[in-house]
């Protein structure tokens, strides 16, 4: 199963808590390493398709809510949706529908996906704080 491969890769990278909570859906705690939330921890959820790593996992599901939902434009403001309704089983998350456009030239693995996440968190609004957002 492709999702098992992704979880195994995450665990190998030190994210021992990564677990499958629903078919194709993985959750783990992410210690933010860059950007305005440096030092905070958030929960990251990811949907992994059966054809991973041909296709990348979708954009992340994030808990707690960090960004306003339904705004126009690109990251960080636009493309933020309620977590439910996109194949995600758990409320409390919000869905950042960011396509991983560099996937074919990446290593096509969890390490590449984490680098993508780091970039997303590095480019959040400078004044963003977790306690303000939830």
């Amino acid at each position: 199963m492709a999702v098992n491969d992704f979880v195994a890769e995450l665990i190998e990278l030190g994210h021992e808590g990564a677990r499958i909570i629903h078919p194709g859906c993985v959750v783990w705690t992410w210690p933010v390493e860059t950007g305005p939330l440096l030092g905070c921890s958030v929960e990251i959820g990811v949907c992994v398709g059966d054809d991973y790593p041909d296709t990348p996992p979708r954009g992340p599901f994030v808990r707690p809510h960090l960004l306003p939902i339904g705004q126009p434009g690109e990251h960080p403001h636009g493309g933020v949706h309620p977590g439910t309704g996109h194949g995600w089983p758990n409320d409390g998350f919000q869905y950042w529908s960011r396509p991983f456009n560099g996937w074919p030239k990446s290593a096509r693995n969890a390490r590449a996906y984490l680098a993508f996440l780091r970039k997303l968190f590095d480019t959040l609004p400078e004044d963003l704080r977790i306690q303000e957002a939830a």
Binding site: P56, G79, H86, G87, S97, P99, W103, P104, R108
Partner: protein, 491 residues
Amino acid sequence: MRYSAALTTETFNLLAAHLLRPDRQEDLCFALWYASTGARRTTALIAEPILPRDGERHVHGNASFEPQFLDRAIELALAKGAGVAMLHSHLGPGWQGMSAHDIEAEQGNAGQVLAATGLPLVGLTIGTDGALSARFWIRAEARDYRREWCESVRVVGEQFLITFHEEQRPAPSAGVSQRRTVSAWGPAMQAKLARLRIGIVGAGSVGSIVAEELVRTGIANVRLIDFDAIEEHNLDRLLPASREHIGRAKVTILADALATSTTAAEPEIEPLELSICERAGFKEALDCDILFSCVDRPWPRKVLNVISYAHLIPVIDGGIRVSAPSGRLKRAHWKTLTAAPGRICLECSGQFDPADVVLERDGLLDDPRYIETLPADHHLRARENVFAFSTNLASLEVLQMLAMVVAPHGISTAGVQTYHFVSGDLDRDDALVCEPNCRYSTVHLARGDNVEPGIVEVHPVAEEARAARRQADAHVRQASWWRRLISWRSR
């Protein structure tokens, strides 16, 4: 169920170098094969030749092998989840029959191979001209194995070579309506072209013209795959459509039109209201010898890329990009290429981005609210098109296919072609190759059903479109019933 076999040019060259001996003796070897299971055809994808080591086979005019050679082939097959194919050469050209010895050798080992691998033994014979013939040995009952001839054997690469079983796929007669066409490349090539089973994925502006060109050229067996309906905004580009067809399935209207324009004596034109991204549509595509990708979405392109490399069915793709900010034409170009082993794939050539595949599967590309959030010049927002652009692209796509099959002077590839409308230039690039970490041209190559294609059982958008048509048809039937009733009462 029909049967076929396919292999890459690279695999073919390895096998031919071993089997076609300069001393004009017959020879043999084994190979691994993987299954490609279509709706009505199973193909053995011959993937890895297993050549004999010293003492494993004997050449004495004919050829024979020691049991340990077959044991080694079975061991390799087990390790890779593959089947075993047995190949030998004959000293004549064309599709080869089987001698009593040939039958005994294959039938006698079919049980051991099936028991060990779970897959039937596939036998292949190569003639002196390189033509391959093939058969599956299917278990009829205990210790009884029945030979099922393949309808064709395909060699896929820069060139597309195909050998047909003359009884299962007999050459059609070319009538007066094909006279000019046949005079261009001769009756033998016409017989080859006419017998191809060609799938057209997407029956829109490009697909409908591709289909028209194919059936007029004499291609008898055309499969049309599209779930979409004709809408008013299609009428400026859709060849067979008129106002009365609005709301009807594109493939149905196209199939009706093709039935009147075909030059084939016995045409088989199948309209399939399916998406290539749902299992039923995917399986129908796997029955084809060549596919045309006339779609404008990333997900179907990704599925077609899997088919071209994992299932060895060449895919001819094309796409149009028009840039017209504020309604003023700035740029327009269209690109076509053939995805097949040894050629650049659709992902590496930028014809789709896997990240967009994920967005489409998530339903976001069908969500107008999401599309509105994208920048105005984003490629996922582009909808501009002109009939003349589509006709030119369709023609270039069909020419790609003809070059690959006809290969005049041995030249079988037109490269990646890009036509620039503003300057009138047609660029051609032959040097493009896949990225080093491309999975399609490496780990997926010829692995068939073992590769996860990323499809769904039921495509929600396709299902919605079919349901809407069923409902509209029911209303039309009901209205017709009321009209008849009123007409009867008024009499």
